[in-house]
């Protein structure tokens, strides 16, 4: 039997990067037991890219909203990939990151990469539905 596949529509459309930044992606897809969230960059209250320090860009409130719209949450994250423009900023990212996963954090990979659109941090995750 084919696995069910659904697009997750965030309750607050501001966190949907697809229309706001004109990108060909869904904020998240639910497939079976898992929710796959697109790589998210920092956005402001209007949905535009927000450029700031690594610490400021790491705040995961928008990702939490996407997951909550799907009936999940950051606490149910299984795997997180963090892309960061420079590994020299690893600790600056980590300090904020740990606030969002205070206990039993998900599996995670961090790597230094060149990001699109001038963001310093981009974060994606897979969570349990």
């Amino acid at each position: 039997m084919a696995l069910q596949r659904d697009v997750i529509a965030p309750k607050d459309p501001v966190v949907d990067m697809s229309p706001n930044l004109n990108l060909p992606l869904s904020p998240a897809i639910r497939a079976g037991e898992f929710i796959f969230v697109s790589g998210m960059v920092a956005i402001d209250a209007t949905g535009e890219r927000m450029h700031g320090t690594v610490a400021a860009e790491t705040r995961l409130a928008a990702m939490a909203q996407v997951l909550e719209s799907a009936g999940s949450s950051l606490a149910k994250a299984v795997k997180v990939n963090v892309l960061i423009y420079s590994m020299l900023e690893y600790n600056n990212m980590n300090e904020v990151y740990r606030e969002f996963f205070p206990v039993d954090p998900p599996a995670r990979t961090v790597c230094g990469a060149k990001l699109c659109g001038g963001s310093k941090v981009e974060i994606e995750c897979v969570a349990l539905a």
């Binding site: 084919a2 696995l3 060909p24 992606l25 869904s26 990469a113």
Partner: protein, 129 residues
């Protein structure tokens, strides 16, 4: 249940042609996990270097063959990691990309990295079986 998907076309087996120690795709838990795909001729396995657009087209056509042979399709893509050689081509990627996933696109993260053999784009995908 973990199952190696047979390739629908002989050129798509990079293990056979280039000695990559990987299976083209694995089906597990209702999902299909594909190895990173680059632009190769689906019949001969020859590399088809070109523009980012031509490489992306070839990859999507090959991905279509692979997924459809397993009873899935491009419409059932769940998550895509799109790797490009230079973020200056981000918009070029988006333009060709949206032609292949026009509706309810998968969750996506784009990153600029070094890709094997001088290719300009590689897609690493998960689809619902």
């Amino acid at each position: 249940m973990r199952e190696i998907l047979p390739v629908p076309s002989p050129g798509l087996d990079l293990r056979h042609h280039y000695g990559h120690h990987q299976s083209p795709a694995i089906r597990a838990g209702g999902l299909i996990f594909c190895s990173g795909m680059v632009a190769v001729n689906p019949e001969t396995g020859e590399r088809e270097h070109g523009t980012l657009t031509s490489e992306a087209r070839r990859i999507f056509e090959n991905l279509k063959l692979l997924l459809e042979s397993a009873g899935s399709s491009l419409d059932r893509l769940v998550q895509v990691h799109a790797m490009i050689y230079d973020r200056i081509e981000y918009d070029v990627l988006n333009r060709v990309y949206r032609q292949y996933v026009p509706n309810a696109p998968p969750a996506r993260t784009v990153m600029s990295v070094q890709i094997e053999a001088g290719f300009k784009v590689m897609l690493d995908v998960i689809a619902a079986a």
